[in-house]
Point group: C2
Chain length 253, copies 2
DNA sequence: ACGCGCGTTCGCCACTCATGAACAAAGGTT
DNA sequence: AACCTTTGTTCATGAGTGGCGAACGCGCGT
């Protein structure tokens, strides 16, 4: 997995600076330099370059990430057929259920949210497009991993670990693989407060015959509303139906 | 404006590679090398670095832009208060009018679309979030420039030029400044097939007392529907109302 | 089985970038 | 208003690194 190989240090530094800008919500040269433990002048040179290339902006003294990244970001997701195809389905699910509906894929061993739609009474979470999550503690992740070759799953768990997010998070590897079996049998996955207390989710994988699992869609809501018949059959059915539609449109269009 | 200064070549090259990936819709090492006129090994080193940093992905042999940029892109726009505040207003305008509603700001002398919402009968254009447009040929651009210091407008026109997009595009500088005067008087701006044949737009600026113009919102539609009373007063009024709401929420929240 | 085209590896030298210190500019404090 | 602090910017230099061409090996198509 780890291919050190010959790599361009300057590029790496520039990326770290951009990431630091996000982390610090915009920052000045000195702040960045101390945060990254780099000489001021180095940071300055990189910022100068990024500014010149119009990738960062100077907002009254402080540097911040520019909108050029918006173009790249939009491209990176519209590139995925799944996004374009699934989006309308996500929207109608949100309208039908009134809950929060998510679309995500796996990349580099983590879940990445591609798109979210909130229904009328949707919970307000920290989730946003582009956000990364561990796969083991989300319904989305389980749905995806249940249809991923076992060796790849092992590999992901090795590198990412299985940190406990709540007291309900599955942290044992055996238990997790049993859970994946159950997901495969059922056709959809549950998250019962495994990532956030008070939150329950249901997720269905999007699979295509030739390329395996492309991603997953999920519905998230408070435990109060996610229980009984609704949680056990109603929402799962809605999800599976939507997933089927997406799968068909993925292969035949 | 042009601050050459000491700049990091490697970073620039990496950015160019990413841009080329977008332009080519994903590509291999050789393809990129010939497109950018760089040695294969150089391109390879950069791709290796970007791949290692998880910014590009390898899709069965071809490299492409990864979802890490999605996070940066989302951040770059949610950073702008305007986006969060205006979004719901854009959505309701789209619902009310059934047309295409846009939100954009100025960056580096160009207009950047932040968000679009299409109503029931909205036209389908090439516009998408993150897209750049010339300011002189769009209603959005005029609305923004009308409230920008004249010297800055001159500067923008100098560097960006005023290319004709259609036969209706304003390409003369004097005519353009007169147009801006009219926009200021009216409180909103028009685009009468100046960017695309058959397309008309109305735009209202979003200004705040302390920071000047923050951006603009606009409604786009086919000439067939954008005429008469609707084009002259109905839509402008809707826009100005929405703009007012946004302006208030910008300053008091 | 062969050859072409691709991604990858290698090793070397020139050049670039990282560096710290010194300079300028801006803000806050007294 | 003059001071001092803090920040952004410039500069010159040497170490190291990234750019480069050529050579390698792999996979695909014929």
């Amino acid at each position: 997995m780890n291919t050190p190989g010959p790599t361009v240090q300057a590029t790496r530094t520039s990326l770290e600076i951009v990431e630091a800008l996000v982390r610090l919500n915009g920052a000045g040269v000195t702040e960045l330099a101390s945060d990254l433990d780099l000489p001021k002048s180095t940071v300055h040179n990189h910022l100068n370059t990024l500014h010149d290339a119009e990738y960062v902006v100077k907002d009254d003294g402080a540097y911040d990430v520019g909108l050029r990244f918006l173009k790249l970001g939009e491209y990176s997701r519209s590139r995925l057929k799944l996004h374009d195809v699934a989006r309308p389905e996500i929207d109608s699910l949100a309208e039908e259920t009134g809950e929060l509906v998510n679309l995500s894929v796996e990349e580099y061993g983590r879940g990445v949210y591609l798109y979210l739609a909130q229904g009328e009474q949707a919970v307000h979470l920290d989730t946003h497009a582009g956000m990364h999550v561990h796969l083991h503690c989300t319904a989305l992740g389980k749905a995806i991993l249940a249809h991923t070759p076992e060796e790849r799953v092992e590999e992901i768990l090795d590198t990412m670990g299985m940190p406990a997010r709540t007291e309900h998070t599955i942290t044992g590897r055996d238990a997790f693989f049993e859970e994946l079996d159950a997901v495969r049998d059922r056709g959809y996955a549950y998250d019962r407060q495994e990532r956030l207390d008070g939150l329950r989710c249901v997720a269905a994988p999007i699979t295509t015959p030739d390329h395996g699992v492309a991603g997953a869609i999920s519905i998230s809501g408070p435990t109060s509303r996610m229980q009984g018949e609704r949680f056990e059959t109603e929402i799962p059915d809605l999800l599976r139906n939507a997933a089927n539609v997406v799968e068909l449109n993925m292969t035949y269009s």
